[in-house]
């Protein structure tokens, strides 16, 4: 492999790699604004200046490919001065509204200004201001903060596949906006906020909710579809505030769709059933866990019993249900359900040419690998127990007695005779298998709501009652 020298360190590189990537491997961080590893290179922010030996002027590291024997200096006086000058230009029109800005704390402009800028400014003229257009329900725009890196324009063009953001006018009057001031159409709009190096494009959903540094971060996987995008749940005080994508070059690269990004909302929905319910004469009533468990146990002791398991459960939960069903008694049928029309992995496929998959449940592949058969037609049995992670579409059920184990809203569980609230994907550990067979781990970010219990614990209590009854 060819080698080059960065700050005196010898680094190997693949031909065609730019200096930002090579330097990162050498442990040298080069400050960037317009460069993003997932987007094309434009080299217009001029922040990534480096000095290359035998080249007369400073070079932008993002657009300079590493070459055999190249000697690069990233900390020389000329580079420092160049970066400081660039920083001063970028901040000419930037308002000092970090206290108001939602990006503060995770802002590239803040970090690079602190690391490479100057503490004083020489400019005292009035800053230019803009009137902002409404960009739709996801993104809040604040053009005053923009440094025209054009990451958003390139993202729409290259990743989201819809060229909806443009730079109109030029020079000091440049305005980064949508074509004709329309609202954003893409279903990947949340990424605009992630890639924006300043607070120009921020999430409306997260607006003024929390400051970035207050949030605790848990690395987990999205359960929005069978793609299994890597994401980070950001939460504080047992409340989830937002989800952002994590880099995984094999699955989702740097991106994530809005459906997955805002999927966490159902876990803290007001309408979610968080206490065990039993149907009384006047409708569902909150009951004690042991009473509900005892009722379920008595119902599944006889007759035709069907376990409906959602393909949004983890592999561990699915296999626990399968094991428990044989231990409880023989003859319990297990059928999976998930997205209507997508019952097998052969029917699954990309829903668009970016990330989304047809199966809206995360673990269709895992359920199939465990040998569970999908439900065909309606669910018909004397007693039906529905196990569900929170996203699977509940099929039509015709039964004398129905119980739901897992995450349901009051509306979804209105036809059930009993609800045993389970854990949502942010509250449990487990693995899910995505459409291409990659097994990934869900991590527990927050404590369960109310008195929700894991599926395994519910199954264990059922088995305990049975074994006690057997001894008596």
């Amino acid at each position: 492999m060819p080698k080059c020298f960065i700050d005196g360190k010898e680094v190997e590189f693949n031909p065609g790699e730019n200096l930002v990537k090579v330097a990162k491997r050498a442990g040298v961080e080069i400050p960037v604004f317009c460069y993003h590893p997932g987007l094309s290179v434009v080299a217009q922010c001029r922040m990534c200046y480096v000095e290359v030996e035998k080249m007369p002027k400073l070079q932008t590291a993002c657009s300079t490919m590493a070459a055999e024997g190249m000697v690069v200096k990233t900390q020389s006086e000329a580079v420092k001065k160049g970066r400081q000058g660039t920083m001063e230009f970028l901040l000419l029109n930037h308002p000092l509204d970090c206290p108001i800005c939602d990006k503060a704390g995770e802002c590239d402009l803040q970090d690079n200004s602190f690391g490479h800028g100057s503490a004083t400014m020489r400019h005292g003229e009035e800053r230019r201001t803009y009137v902002d257009v409404d960009m739709g329900p996801v993104i809040q725009k604040n053009m005053n903060r923009c440094i025209h890196c054009t990451r958003c324009i390139r993202f729409g063009d290259e990743i989201a596949g819809i060229h909806e953001m443009v730079a109109i006018k030029r020079g000091n009057n440049i305005d980064i906006t949508t074509i004709d001031g329309k609202q954003l159409k893409t279903e990947y709009a949340g990424n605009y906020s992630d890639i924006c190096p300043t607070g120009s494009l921020t999430l409306k959903d997260f607006r003024f909710k929390k400051r970035a540094w207050m949030l605790k971060k848990t690395a987990t996987v999205c359960e929005g579809c069978s793609k299994g995008c890597n994401m980070e749940v950001q939460h504080e005080g047992n409340v989830i505030y937002r989800c952002i994508p994590r880099e995984n070059l094999e699955i989702n690269k740097f991106w994530m769709c809005d459906e997955g990004r805002f999927n966490y909302r159902y876990t803290q929905d007001e309408a979610r059933v968080v206490d065990p319910k039993l149907r009384g004469p006047e409708g569902p009533k909150t009951a004690a866990w042991q009473d509900v468990i005892a009722t379920v146990e008595s119902k599944i002791r006889n007759g035709e019993v069907l376990f409906l398991v959602g393909t949004d459960l983890t592999n561990e939960e699915l296999s626990a249900i399968r094991e428990a069903s044989t231990a409880l008694r023989s003859g319990i049928q297990i059928r999976t359900f998930g997205t209507p029309g997508v019952t097998r992995t052969t029917e699954d496929g990309p829903a668009d040419n970016i990330l989304k998959m047809k199966s809206k449940t995360s673990n269709l592949n895992g359920a199939e690998k465990l040998g569970l058969e999908p439900l065909t037609g309606d669910a018909r049995a004397e007693t039906v127990i529905v196990f569900r992670g929170g996203r699977a579409g509940i099929p039509k059920i015709e039964a004398k007695w129905t119980a739901g184990v897992g995450v349901f809203t009051r509306e979804e569980s209105s036809g059930f005779d009993s609800v045993l609230p389970g854990l949502a994907f942010t509250e449990k550990e487990g693995t899910i298998t995505n459409h291409s067979g990659v097994e990934q781990r869900l991590a527990r970010a927050v404590r369960p709501k109310g008195t929700c219990k894991p599926v395994s614990e519910i199954l264990m209590s059922l088995l305990n009652i049975k074994s006690k009854a057997g001894q008596a």
Partner: protein, 147 residues
Amino acid sequence: MLAQRKPGFLNRLYLIEVIRGLAITMKNFLFHKKVTLQFPEQRRDYSGRYRGQHYIKSVNGVENCTACMLCPTVCPAECIHIVAGEREDKEKYPVKFEIDSLRCCFCGMCEEACPKDAIKLSNIYEMSQKNRTVYEKDFLLEQRGNK
């Protein structure tokens, strides 16, 4: 070290020592400047840097605070609770601004961290209360200092 007992009958009576002690007491009582104050009538003048009851500075009736959350971030006692919101005349403002006065240790770090010159500690030190007191935003907006 133990006190040495002086020998002799007079010394064992301690009479001389008692009189000596009384003399010191009387000297301080009669001829020294008093260190105490008659509190409700007389007030002590504290320095301008004294850290007493909080207030949020406002200019022309608009609070300086923009709910940037730097004070709850820096607060070692975690006694400040802010909920941010948006309104017509101000992009970001504190909908709720509460200081749990019993948790507060009056370190003044909030004042130091504030980028908007909003939260201040006044000279007021009479803060005794019958029950646990949380200073609400309306109370904090009373301009009780001149910092």
